[in-house]
Protein backbone atom coordinates (compact mmCIF):
# COMPACT_ATOMS: atom_id res chain seq x y z
CA UNK A 1 0.00 0.00 0.00
CA UNK A 2 1.28 3.30 -1.13
CA UNK A 3 0.03 5.49 1.71
CA UNK A 4 0.60 6.66 5.23
CA UNK A 5 -2.18 6.85 7.81
CA UNK A 6 -2.42 8.27 11.32
CA UNK A 7 -5.32 8.92 13.74
CA UNK A 8 -5.95 11.04 16.80
CA UNK A 9 -9.07 11.48 18.93
CA UNK A 10 -9.79 15.06 19.95
CA UNK A 11 -11.87 15.96 22.96
CA UNK A 12 -14.33 18.13 21.03
CA UNK A 13 -17.52 17.64 19.03
CA UNK A 14 -17.23 16.77 15.35
CA UNK A 15 -18.69 20.04 13.98
CA UNK A 16 -16.18 22.07 15.97
CA UNK A 17 -13.24 19.93 14.85
CA UNK A 18 -14.37 20.14 11.23
CA UNK A 19 -14.75 23.93 11.49
CA UNK A 20 -11.09 24.22 12.45
CA UNK A 21 -10.12 22.92 9.01
CA UNK A 22 -12.60 24.70 6.75
CA UNK A 23 -13.23 28.09 8.35
CA UNK A 24 -10.34 30.41 7.49
CA UNK A 25 -10.41 32.40 10.75
CA UNK A 26 -10.08 29.12 12.69
CA UNK A 27 -7.65 27.44 10.31
CA UNK A 28 -5.30 30.40 10.53
CA UNK A 29 -4.95 29.84 14.29
CA UNK A 30 -3.31 26.41 13.93
CA UNK A 31 -2.82 26.20 10.17
CA UNK A 32 -1.49 22.63 9.91
CA UNK A 33 1.79 24.10 11.06
CA UNK A 34 4.34 23.13 13.71
CA UNK A 35 4.38 24.56 17.23
CA UNK A 36 5.59 28.14 17.50
CA UNK A 37 4.66 29.09 13.92
CA UNK A 38 2.42 32.06 13.20
CA UNK A 39 0.15 31.58 10.22
CA UNK A 40 -1.20 34.15 7.83
CA UNK A 41 -3.70 33.20 5.16
CA UNK A 42 -2.77 34.98 1.94
CA UNK A 43 -5.64 33.33 0.12
CA UNK A 44 -8.61 31.33 1.36
CA UNK A 45 -11.18 29.85 -0.95
CA UNK A 46 -12.81 26.84 0.65
CA UNK A 47 -14.53 24.91 -2.14
CA UNK A 48 -13.41 22.13 -4.49
CA UNK A 49 -10.70 23.64 -6.70
CA UNK A 50 -10.13 26.48 -4.25
CA UNK A 51 -7.17 26.65 -1.90
CA UNK A 52 -5.49 28.07 1.18
CA UNK A 53 -2.20 29.85 0.64
CA UNK A 54 -0.55 30.02 4.04
CA UNK A 55 2.48 31.97 5.15
CA UNK A 56 4.08 30.24 8.14
CA UNK A 57 6.54 32.28 10.17
CA UNK A 58 8.73 30.23 12.48
CA UNK A 59 9.95 31.30 15.93
CA UNK A 60 13.25 32.25 14.24
CA UNK A 61 11.41 34.57 11.82
CA UNK A 62 11.98 32.23 8.90
CA UNK A 63 9.05 32.04 6.51
CA UNK A 64 7.74 29.19 4.44
CA UNK A 65 4.61 28.97 2.35
CA UNK A 66 2.15 26.11 1.99
CA UNK A 67 -0.71 25.45 -0.35
CA UNK A 68 -3.72 23.30 0.48
CA UNK A 69 -5.88 22.77 -2.57
CA UNK A 70 -9.35 21.42 -1.89
CA UNK A 71 -10.64 18.44 -3.84
CA UNK A 72 -13.64 17.46 -1.79
CA UNK A 73 -15.45 18.97 1.19
CA UNK A 74 -18.10 16.79 2.83
CA UNK A 75 -19.22 18.38 6.10
CA UNK A 76 -18.72 16.97 8.69
CA UNK A 77 -17.38 13.63 7.46
CA UNK A 78 -14.50 14.08 5.11
CA UNK A 79 -12.11 16.56 3.61
CA UNK A 80 -9.76 15.90 0.69
CA UNK A 81 -7.02 18.31 -0.31
CA UNK A 82 -3.56 18.39 -1.82
CA UNK A 83 -0.75 19.48 0.49
CA UNK A 84 2.25 21.24 -1.06
CA UNK A 85 5.10 23.50 -0.13
CA UNK A 86 5.02 26.62 -2.31
CA UNK A 87 6.56 30.06 -2.60
CA UNK A 88 5.18 33.54 -1.97
CA UNK A 89 3.48 33.42 -5.39
CA UNK A 90 1.84 30.08 -4.54
CA UNK A 91 4.03 28.21 -7.06
CA UNK A 92 4.67 24.67 -5.81
CA UNK A 93 8.32 24.08 -4.90
CA UNK A 94 10.46 21.21 -3.63
CA UNK A 95 10.90 20.56 0.07
CA UNK A 96 14.11 22.47 0.93
CA UNK A 97 15.30 19.77 3.36
CA UNK A 98 14.18 16.64 1.49
CA UNK A 99 14.18 17.32 -2.27
CA UNK A 100 12.43 14.02 -2.97
CA UNK A 101 9.59 14.67 -0.51
CA UNK A 102 6.50 14.39 -2.77
CA UNK A 103 5.52 17.86 -3.99
CA UNK A 104 1.86 16.90 -3.98
CA UNK A 105 0.43 14.78 -1.20
CA UNK A 106 -3.20 13.86 -1.49
CA UNK A 107 -4.52 14.31 2.04
CA UNK A 108 -7.77 12.62 3.00
CA UNK A 109 -9.06 13.58 6.42
CA UNK A 110 -11.92 11.55 7.90
CA UNK A 111 -13.93 12.77 10.89
CA UNK A 112 -15.82 10.27 13.07
CA UNK A 113 -17.60 10.45 16.41
CA UNK A 114 -15.59 8.71 19.11
CA UNK A 115 -17.49 8.77 22.39
CA UNK A 116 -17.94 12.45 23.19
CA UNK A 117 -14.91 13.30 21.08
CA UNK A 118 -13.92 13.15 17.44
CA UNK A 119 -11.54 10.75 15.79
CA UNK A 120 -9.57 12.30 12.95
CA UNK A 121 -7.82 9.97 10.51
CA UNK A 122 -5.38 11.33 7.98
CA UNK A 123 -4.38 9.38 4.88
CA UNK A 124 -1.41 10.60 2.88
CA UNK A 125 -0.49 9.48 -0.61
CA UNK A 126 1.68 11.06 -3.28
CA UNK A 127 -0.05 12.23 -6.49
CA UNK A 128 1.48 13.19 -9.84
CA UNK A 129 4.73 12.10 -8.23
CA UNK A 130 8.10 11.43 -9.87
CA UNK A 131 9.74 8.04 -9.44
CA UNK A 132 12.18 9.53 -6.93
CA UNK A 133 9.33 11.01 -4.91
CA UNK A 134 7.43 7.72 -4.82
CA UNK A 135 10.64 5.90 -3.86
CA UNK A 136 11.27 8.39 -1.05
CA UNK A 137 7.72 7.98 0.23
CA UNK A 138 7.78 4.19 -0.07
CA UNK A 139 11.10 3.96 1.72
CA UNK A 140 9.39 5.26 4.82
CA UNK A 141 6.34 3.07 4.41
CA UNK A 142 7.80 -0.25 3.30
CA UNK A 143 9.32 -0.68 6.74
CA UNK A 144 6.00 -0.45 8.52
CA UNK A 145 4.26 -2.61 5.97
CA UNK A 146 6.91 -5.31 6.04
CA UNK A 147 5.54 -6.07 9.49
CA UNK A 148 8.67 -5.64 11.48
CA UNK A 149 8.32 -2.02 12.43
CA UNK A 150 7.30 -3.02 15.96
CA UNK A 151 10.28 -5.32 16.35
CA UNK A 152 12.48 -2.53 15.18
CA UNK A 153 11.08 0.00 17.63
CA UNK A 154 11.26 -2.49 20.49
CA UNK A 155 14.80 -3.36 19.59
CA UNK A 156 15.79 0.27 19.48
CA UNK A 157 14.18 0.92 22.90
CA UNK A 158 16.05 -2.00 24.42
CA UNK A 159 19.30 -0.69 23.03
CA UNK A 160 18.63 2.80 24.32
CA UNK A 161 17.99 1.43 27.80
CA UNK A 162 21.14 -0.63 27.57
CA UNK A 163 23.45 2.17 26.50
CA UNK A 164 21.77 5.56 26.61
CA UNK A 165 22.31 7.43 23.36
CA UNK A 166 23.16 11.02 24.22
Amino acid sequence: MNNFTISRTFDAPRDLVFKCWVEPQHFEKWGLSPAGCTNRLLHADVRPGGYYHVQQTGPDGKQIYCKFEFRQISPIDQLVFITSICDVNCEIVKNPVFPDWPRKLLTTVAFEDDGTGTKVTVLWEPVEASEAEVAFFMQHLSIGHAGWSQTFVRLQKTIEELEPVA
Binding site: C20, W30, L162
Partner: protein, 111 residues
Protein backbone atom coordinates in the same frame (compact mmCIF):
# COMPACT_ATOMS: atom_id res chain seq x y z
CA UNK B 1 25.98 3.25 0.00
CA UNK B 2 24.85 5.72 2.64
CA UNK B 3 24.48 4.72 6.29
CA UNK B 4 20.66 4.56 6.25
CA UNK B 5 20.55 2.24 3.24
CA UNK B 6 23.12 0.00 4.90
CA UNK B 7 21.18 -0.05 8.19
CA UNK B 8 17.85 -0.78 6.48
CA UNK B 9 19.48 -3.44 4.33
CA UNK B 10 20.99 -5.05 7.42
CA UNK B 11 17.67 -4.97 9.28
CA UNK B 12 15.71 -6.42 6.38
CA UNK B 13 16.79 -9.94 7.35
CA UNK B 14 15.07 -11.79 10.24
CA UNK B 15 18.23 -13.67 11.26
CA UNK B 16 20.17 -10.44 11.57
CA UNK B 17 17.36 -8.86 13.61
CA UNK B 18 17.38 -11.88 15.90
CA UNK B 19 21.15 -11.55 16.28
CA UNK B 20 20.75 -7.88 17.23
CA UNK B 21 17.97 -8.73 19.67
CA UNK B 22 20.27 -11.30 21.33
CA UNK B 23 23.06 -8.72 21.54
CA UNK B 24 20.84 -6.24 23.37
CA UNK B 25 21.16 -8.68 26.30
CA UNK B 26 24.94 -8.29 26.28
CA UNK B 27 28.09 -9.33 24.46
CA UNK B 28 28.14 -12.70 22.76
CA UNK B 29 30.67 -14.72 20.78
CA UNK B 30 30.09 -15.88 17.22
CA UNK B 31 29.51 -19.43 18.46
CA UNK B 32 26.96 -18.24 21.02
CA UNK B 33 25.17 -16.22 18.38
CA UNK B 34 25.06 -19.16 15.99
CA UNK B 35 23.56 -21.55 18.56
CA UNK B 36 19.82 -20.69 18.21
CA UNK B 37 20.00 -20.87 14.41
CA UNK B 38 20.22 -23.91 12.21
CA UNK B 39 22.89 -22.30 10.09
CA UNK B 40 26.64 -22.75 9.83
CA UNK B 41 29.24 -20.59 11.56
CA UNK B 42 30.42 -19.09 8.24
CA UNK B 43 26.81 -18.14 7.45
CA UNK B 44 26.53 -16.40 10.83
CA UNK B 45 29.84 -14.66 10.19
CA UNK B 46 28.44 -13.36 6.91
CA UNK B 47 25.44 -11.88 8.72
CA UNK B 48 27.76 -10.32 11.31
CA UNK B 49 29.82 -8.77 8.55
CA UNK B 50 26.68 -7.11 7.12
CA UNK B 51 25.73 -5.78 10.57
CA UNK B 52 29.29 -4.55 11.13
CA UNK B 53 29.40 -2.76 7.76
CA UNK B 54 26.13 -1.02 8.67
CA UNK B 55 27.76 0.13 11.92
CA UNK B 56 25.27 -1.82 14.04
CA UNK B 57 27.82 -4.19 15.53
CA UNK B 58 31.35 -4.06 16.91
CA UNK B 59 33.60 -7.10 17.19
CA UNK B 60 36.60 -7.46 19.48
CA UNK B 61 39.33 -10.05 19.19
CA UNK B 62 39.93 -11.83 22.49
CA UNK B 63 42.26 -14.81 22.18
CA UNK B 64 40.38 -17.27 19.96
CA UNK B 65 36.93 -15.69 20.37
CA UNK B 66 35.40 -12.61 18.83
CA UNK B 67 32.82 -11.14 21.21
CA UNK B 68 30.27 -8.92 19.48
CA UNK B 69 28.29 -6.03 20.86
CA UNK B 70 25.54 -3.87 19.46
CA UNK B 71 25.94 -0.20 18.52
CA UNK B 72 22.83 1.91 19.20
CA UNK B 73 23.56 5.18 17.44
CA UNK B 74 22.96 4.20 13.77
CA UNK B 75 19.79 2.41 14.81
CA UNK B 76 18.55 5.54 16.56
CA UNK B 77 19.19 7.62 13.43
CA UNK B 78 17.39 5.06 11.29
CA UNK B 79 14.40 5.02 13.65
CA UNK B 80 14.13 8.82 13.54
CA UNK B 81 14.13 8.61 9.76
CA UNK B 82 11.45 5.94 9.64
CA UNK B 83 9.27 7.96 11.99
CA UNK B 84 9.42 11.08 9.84
CA UNK B 85 5.74 11.26 8.88
CA UNK B 86 4.46 10.47 12.35
CA UNK B 87 6.18 13.37 14.18
CA UNK B 88 5.02 15.64 11.35
CA UNK B 89 1.38 14.86 12.08
CA UNK B 90 1.79 14.55 15.86
CA UNK B 91 3.05 18.11 15.95
CA UNK B 92 0.13 19.41 13.86
CA UNK B 93 -2.43 17.39 15.85
CA UNK B 94 -0.98 18.82 19.08
CA UNK B 95 -1.53 22.29 17.74
CA UNK B 96 -5.11 21.52 16.70
CA UNK B 97 -5.82 20.01 20.13
CA UNK B 98 -4.47 23.16 21.78
CA UNK B 99 -6.64 25.39 19.62
CA UNK B 100 -9.74 23.27 20.30
CA UNK B 101 -9.15 23.66 24.04
CA UNK B 102 -8.96 27.42 23.56
CA UNK B 103 -12.22 27.44 21.56
CA UNK B 104 -14.01 25.39 24.19
CA UNK B 105 -12.80 27.72 26.96
CA UNK B 106 -14.02 30.76 25.02
CA UNK B 107 -17.36 29.03 24.47
CA UNK B 108 -17.79 28.52 28.20
CA UNK B 109 -17.05 32.19 28.91
CA UNK B 110 -19.89 33.19 26.61
CA UNK B 111 -22.39 30.91 28.27
Amino acid sequence: MDELSLVFGALADPTRRAILARLTQGEATVAELAKPFSISLPAVSKHLKVLETAGLLKQRVVAQTRPCRVEGEPLKRAADYVEMFRPFWDERFDRLAGYLEQLKAEDQEHE
